[in-house]
């Protein structure tokens, strides 16, 4: 098994005028190449902060993130992200949103167009290429967000509660799509979620974080066979096991 990322003793404290909040305390774990790793933990335990540090958007006070033999300290083409509230550029169409990352990386106009169209088709948005975000439903917006992330050649896909602002049906459909697309693209995925069910349905491994300051409380291997039956005994057993380790 190949290591994709090493998270090494990362700490982060936010200092404001008179108080300081320690979000992460010496958190360490590995991410394996090609796995889907779910991170679960109580609200405010530093999950989003952790993802931002892995993406190079925020700097840890101490510790580091290593990709292969390189330390990641800056935003990096190897890492991409799907956002909780989509973060689509409202002035661009769906197609232009997907092209954005390719354009910034200097791909030719032809390749941008070809890749972007292909990924919009993959997420089921053929015919909506020229719509602006405000003309799209929440589910469609997140599909654009997914296409935008997958169209880049990043190996590592970070997802911060990507389904939590969608209704249950749409979220279900998008989870299915993610599982399907994952087989094609073979990214390493880190998924932050607050739903134990979602984590077990999707992930190969599940990391439970402690309440703030976040550190690793427990790690679970999820060997359940795919597609996973959410009503099976094994599923419920794992739900129980994981839920017991979550403290609020």
């Amino acid at each position: 098994m190949v290591e994709a990322l090493r998270i090494e003793k990362i700490s982060k404290t936010f200092k404001e005028e008179n108080k300081s909040v320690t979000a992460l305390n010496k958190i360490s774990f590995d991410v394996r190449q090609g796995e889907l790793l779910a991170i679960i933990g109580p609200s405010g335990c530093g999950k989003s902060t952790l993802l931002k540090i892995i993406a190079g958007l925020a700097k840890p006070d101490s510790g580091f993130v290593r990709h292969k033999s390189r330390i990641i300290a800056e935003p990096n083409p190897k890492v991409t992200m799907v956002f909780q509230h989509f973060a689509l550029f409202p002035w661009l169409t769906a197609l232009e949103n997907v092209k954005f990352g390719l354009k910034m990386r200097g791909l030719s106009e032809n390749l941008q167009e070809k890749n972007a169209r292909q990924w919009l088709r993959e997420v089921g948005l053929r015919g909506s290429e020229d719509k602006h975000p405000r003309e799209l439903s929440g589910g469609m917006k997140q599909r654009v967000g997914l296409a935008r992330a997958l169209a880049t050649d990043a190996e590592i896909l970070l997802m911060d509660e990507p389904f939590s602002s969608l209704d249950a049906f749409t979220a279900h459909a998008l989870r299915q799509d993610l599982m399907r697309l994952r087989l094609k693209k073979k990214n390493t995925i880190i998924l932050v979620t607050h739903l134990v069910d979602e984590a077990i349905e999707l992930a190969d491994r599940i990391i439970v974080l402690t309440p703030r300051p976040g550190s690793v409380a427990a790690i679970f291997e999820n060997k359940l066979k795919r597609p996973r039956n959410k009503r099976s005994k094994e599923f419920f057993r794992l739900v129980d096991k994981i839920t017991k380790t979550i403290r609020f």
Partner: protein, 241 residues
């Protein structure tokens, strides 16, 4: 129900202003033809002089506001340094600077442009600063994640994100620009439509003054209707999610 009635109101307002402008144009033309004495060529040159001054000042103030706002958004130090200074300067009424500007720059274009610049710059600057601060954090994170840096970031992320605010600020600034340039041209600058109106008034040529005002109204109206409003419409359409 709400949407069509608003649409109707807008439609009605637009019809009313168009009629008003047509009437103004007819009155102006009638006056021009009635008295052959009117020096219309001179009047149009005066209007063009004023518009050119506003345009130059506008481009300068937009450029400067963008430059300072983006720099201040980048560096907290610069922001803490400049903001109090700007706040102080902003409180000086623009026309109060006019006598001083006349001493240094004379009674011509430089003074005019400088005074309009001051009237436009603060609105542009503080609007852009405010908009940059109000940008959704995840949007600029997305720009970063997807590789937008340097000039490309400015061109493909910062500018489009700022555009609606820039258009709004531009409309306000042009309004302020017209006010101040006409006042300045009446008081201290010897050319431009303000000076033209002033001369006409002092020599008792009432119809010339009326025609001048009408022409001014038409010009301002056309700039709004054919430049700013379409731009505003185009940018706000897709901005608000």
């Amino acid at each position: 129900m709400k949407v069509p009635s608003r649409w109707m109101r807008r439609r009605l307002a637009s019809v009313v202003t168009t009629i008003f402008i047509l009437v103004a144009a007819i009155v102006a033309l009638a006056l021009i033809f009635k008295s052959a004495k009117l020096d219309t060529a001179k009047m149009f040159l005066a209007v063009i002089a004023s518009i050119s001054r506003i345009s130059v000042a506008y481009v300068l103030s937009l450029g400067a506001a963008l430059l300072f706002a983006v720099m201040m958004a980048k560096s907290k130090l610069l922001e803490n340094l400049l903001l109090p200074v700007f706040d102080l300067f902003q409180s000086i009424p623009g026309l109060a600077i006019l006598p001083l500007a006349v001493i240094y720059f004379g009674k011509g274009n430089t003074t005019a442009i400088f005074i309009i610049f001051l009237a436009m710059f603060w609105t542009m600057l503080f609007t852009i600063i405010g908009t940059l601060k109000g940008l959704k954090e995840d949007l600029s994170e997305a720009a970063t994640i997807f590789g937008a840096t340097g000039w490309k970031r400015f061109r493909y992320f910062t500018m489009p994100a700022l555009l609606p605010a820039i258009i709004t600020a531009s409309i306000i600034s042009w309004g302020a620009g017209w006010e101040i340039i006409i006042a300045a041209e009446i008081i201290g600058i010897s050319t431009g439509i303000g000076a033209f109106l002033n001369t006409a008034s002092e020599s008792g040529q009432t119809s010339l003054v009326v025609v001048g005002i009408m022409v001014l109204a038409i010009v301002v109206f056309m700039i709004n209707k054919f430049i700013w409003l379409p731009l505003l419409h185009k940018t706000t359409k897709y901005q608000t999610e």
